[in-house]
């Protein structure tokens, strides 16, 4: 028979909630014991804690004593609550008018609800949940005060406006303010010529307006450069260019027909329906003004086809952190994992000291040493593989001289400080 100190929080020691199931406790115990094998004292404490909590009788006894020894606002109330038997016993004595009766029953119900954590069905997610701390365990809905509401009308999936890019990626715009940029934005564009904080799109009462927030390379709507900080209304099919990325606005319910537009640029380009068939390169050459032009040397593609990033001459960082140009949200990828050094006729790859390494053709790269990366060769980063795809050079186009290929959005200081 093991003894315990009711002052010690055995649940916290095993890092489980006080209402943890036996399975969870066992699993957690196994995990921690492995972790603390070397720590004799902790190991012994874990063993003792498990001995108590894995035995139903001991656990009940511990809960009882612990509740007295260390009253807690939430768990304490549960364990130390007197058996609900006592209020009902008292009830008959107060029976008088039906109203009082009702009141008494109500009180009992209240006690039951608040102290015993009666299980109810959450009106939002329809999960059976304990009301112990006032929120649905599953979806977090605030249960208190919402009891009167039997049914929460579920939110209808509204048709929201969206931006579509040349590859068919859809960025849904939510009601309210949507930010556009390369860092921490609602419309996240991994294009180095997009500023970290580039523009804002405001959706309200079915109308959409756009405002450039002082980006380095500007925002263009149907070929017209926006004046920073001045909101401009958008209509269905509008072509919006952020740096070198072109997106088309799709309004809900709108018929996919190009609206009549006086813009000559628009008339010259393909009809503004879905731009799925148009490649990014043609898009840029057709729509973007010359000063913006950046030659796409290659595409960085994931083998599963979910990623295809156009590469222009310059440096691209790859990693898990959203501050990278190419973000790979994979826990096996380091925050800053590797960089691509793109030159007009050559792409180099360099591992910047990643934990799990970068593999080119199954060979691990030496950290901090740039290696040339030929087209089509398999690159493994984290759990996924990638390759470089050659961009077909448009006929008759001269390679752009290096001096004009500076990456406009790349410099650390230029665009960081937008209001």
């Amino acid at each position: 028979m093991s003894t315990f100190d009711p002052h010690e929080d055995l649940y916290a020691l095993l890092e489980v909630p006080p209402d943890a199931s036996d399975d969870l406790i066992r699993e957690q115990y196994r995990k921690l014991v492995q972790q603390y094998l070397w720590d004799r004292e902790k190991f012994a404490r874990l063993n003792r804690a498990f001995e108590v909590l894995s035995n139903p009788d001991l656990r009940a006894e511990y809960d009882k004593q612990a509740a007295i020894a260390r009253p807690r606002p939430d768990a304490g109330a549960l364990a130390s609550a007197p058996p609900v038997a006592s209020p009902p016993e008292a009830a008959p004595t107060v029976i008088g008018t039906p109203a009082q009766d009702l009141l008494a029953t109500q009180q009992i119900a209240d006690i039951q609800r608040t102290q015993m954590g009666v299980r109810v069905t959450c009106p939002v997610c329809k999960t059976e949940t304990s009301t112990i701390d006032g929120y649905c365990e599953e979806c977090g809905f605030a249960l208190e005060g919402a009891e009167a509401v039997q049914e929460i009308p579920s939110l209808e999936m509204p048709e929201l406006p969206a931006l579509v890019d040349a590859l068919g990626n859809v960025y849904t715009l939510r009601p309210g303010v949507n930010t556009v940029g390369r860092l921490n934005a609602d419309v996240l564009l991994s294009d180095p010529s997009v500023s970290r904080s580039h523009a804002r799109i405001i959706v309200q009462n079915g109308s959409v307006t756009i405002e450039d927030v002082g980006s380095t390379n500007g925002t263009f709507v149907n070929g017209q450069r926006l004046t920073p900080q001045v909101p401009v209304p958008l209509s269905d099919g509008a072509e919006i260019t952020f740096g070198g990325t072109k997106l088309t606005l799709r309004m809900p319910g709108a018929v996919s027909v190009a609206p009549p537009s006086p813009e000559p640029v628009l008339a010259a380009s393909a009809p503004v329906t879905q731009t799925l068939t148009v490649t990014a390169e043609e898009e840029v050459t057709a729509g973007a003004p010359a000063e913006e032009e950046e030659e796409v040397v290659a595409y960085w593609c994931s083998d599963d086809g979910t990623m295809r990033v156009p590469l222009s001459p310059g440096m691209y960082t790859i990693g898990r952190r959203p501050s990278n140009h190419i973000v790979i949200p994979d826990p096996y990828v380091s925050g800053n994992h590797a960089i691509l050094l793109v030159e007009p006729d050559l792409v180099n790859i360099e591992d910047v000291g990643s934990t799990n390494g970068t593999f080119v053709d199954d060979t691990k790269l030496i950290p901090h040493v740039a290696a040339p990366l030929p087209f089509g060769v398999k690159v493994q980063i984290g759990q996924s593989t990638y390759h470089l795809e050659e961009a077909e050079k448009p006929v008759g186009q001269e390679p752009v001289p290096e001096s004009t290929e500076e990456e406009p959005g790349e410099e650390g200081g230029n665009d960081a400080e937008q209001p």
């Binding site: 002052h7 010690e8 929080d9 916290a12 020691l13 890092e15 972790q35 070397w38 720590d39 004292e41 902790k42 606002p73 939430d74 939002v124 997610c125 701390d133 929120y135 649905c136 365990e137 599953e138 979806c139 977090g140 809905f141 605030a142 919402a146 929460i152 009308p153 579920s154 939110l155 999936m157 509204p158 929201l160 939510r174 009601p175 309210g176 303010v177 921490n184 609602d186 959706v203 309200q204 440096m315 952190r321 959203p322 501050s323 826990p331 000291g353 990643s354 934990t355 390494g357 950290p367 901090h368 790349e410 410099e411 650390g412 200081g413 960081a416 400080e417």
Partner: protein, 414 residues
């Protein structure tokens, strides 16, 4: 509730209290404050000094280091355990982990440290950690101080392995503080070690400052009120974590564990998290259940503090405030400053940024830090600015520390 004094308090602040029912993103700021009241008894230390005695330490530097070690011995008492390791080509145990009883004898051993040749940082760190691990126990604060003045030149040298070692030791409960001295050490490596293990990073420019920096670190250690601090976020169905600033979170199914640094008396540590909130029926929701779990040195137990981050969700876009909570906004700006600083250091190193650009960037950073009340960091940036043009290594090494301390988000209580 007549609660006993606990070492920590926690406050959760959301960027906005009203959110868009159609979904959106929101920042959650958790502010952890070490109590400034309470008793003065400090936690006994289990400390290991890991000292670089490579050839470059010859002369003044090693003399100052010896003096600094003697200083540390003076500050400790019989309840503390000290071990001293030196490394060059190989690793020597100058003093195995013992209680600090005979101070004169320990100092004699320190005086016998001799200069060697190369720098075998990995093995030095490993042996240091083994020393403290051998005598680890609850209610004792464990810390390894690694002092080096150069790049690792022998043994295991690559960045990944060394940083991985720090991460492994952190998992065993050992924190490593790094002290980089002079112009030669690899600040990225040292900051990487500190970052992975939650320790501090110091850059020591001149030898005569060595004892002072040792004293500063020891002073911090002696006022630690909470160790083994972890933040646990339990997420309901409609909430996902988008990013955790400045920490390596441990993501499980619906619980995110974010390790925190040790917290001293009167210190404030902030943790910023960005959440992705999905579309949901309008109403009030708890978007995260926040629990702070730590070893409390005042109550002597593992304590758990809980709080709910509650938001209301509405379809009425006009009710959603345009601006976010100023304290959250401030923290976001500070985190951005930290990232910008790291980028500036990189730009300076790779010479992608010109000196004028760096200067402009730093001046702006300094102004912002001053405005945010981060005076110590502002001062560091100013030092870097002063050295710009004459000595870029000073700039890089100073700013690396500034970026790291901004990232950790620790400050003194106002």
């Amino acid at each position: 509730m007549g609660a006993p004094v606990r070492a920590l308090q926690m406050e959760c602040i959301l960027g906005r209290e009203v959110g868009n029912a159609y979904g959106g993103r929101e920042h959650l700021l958790v502010e952890i404050t070490g109590t400034s009241t309470g008793i003065g008894r400090r936690l006994p230390l289990n400390l290991c000094l890991v000292i670089d005695r490579s050839g470059s330490m010859e002369g003044e530097p090693i003399d100052y280091v010896k003096r600094a070690c003697g200083y540390v011995v003076d500050l400790l008492d019989q309840n503390d355990i000290l071990s001293i390791i030196t490394f060059s080509d190989s690793v020597d145990v100058v003093m195995p982990a013992r209680r600090v009883v005979n101070k004169t004898l320990i100092k004699e051993h320190i005086q016998r440290i001799e200069i060697g040749n190369t720098t075998n940082l990995y093995d030095g760190m490993l042996v240091g950690c083994q020393q403290v691990a051998a005598v680890m126990s609850e209610q004792v604060l464990t810390r390894v101080l690694v002092f080096t003045d150069g790049e690792p030149t022998s043994g295991i040298k690559d960045f990944a392995s060394i940083v991985q070692l720090a991460a492994e030791q952190k998992a065993r409960g050992i924190t490593i503080t790094v002290l980089g001295f002079g112009p030669e050490f690899n600040e990225e490596l040292l900051a990487g070690i500190a970052r992975r293990s939650g320790g501090n990073y110091y850059y020591i420019q001149r030898p005569e400052l060595i004892p002072e920096v040792f004293r500063r670190e020891l002073e911090l250690l002696m006022t630690v009120v909470a160790k083994n601090v972890r933040l646990l976020l339990s997420l309901p169905r409609f909430t996902q974590i988008r990013q955790v600033y400045g920490a390596q979170p441990n993501l499980q199914n619906r619980v995110v564990e974010i390790p925190q640094v040790d917290i001293e008396r009167g210190a404030v540590v902030t943790q910023l998290v960005e959440m992705e909130l999905q579309m949901r029926p309008p109403g009030r929701y708890r978007v995260a259940k926040v629990a702070l779990v730590y070893d409390d040195t005042i109550t002597g137990r593992v304590e758990r503090i809980e709080a709910d981050a509650v938001m209301e969700f509405t379809q009425d876009v006009s009710r959603i405030p345009q601006s976010i909570n100023p304290r959250v906004q401030r923290e976001i700006e500070i985190q951005q400053l930290s990232r910008n600083l790291e980028r500036t250091v990189l730009g300076l190193k790779t010479q992608q940024l010109s000196a004028a650009e760096v200067r402009q960037e730093l001046e702006r950073t300094m102004a912002m830090l001053t405005r945010q009340g981060r005076l110590q960091e502002a001062q560091e940036v100013q030092q870097a600015l002063a050295a710009l043009g004459s000595d870029t290594t000073v700039v890089e090494k100073t700013l690396m520390g500034t970026a790291y301390s901004l990232e950790v988000g620790k400050s003194k209580q106002p």
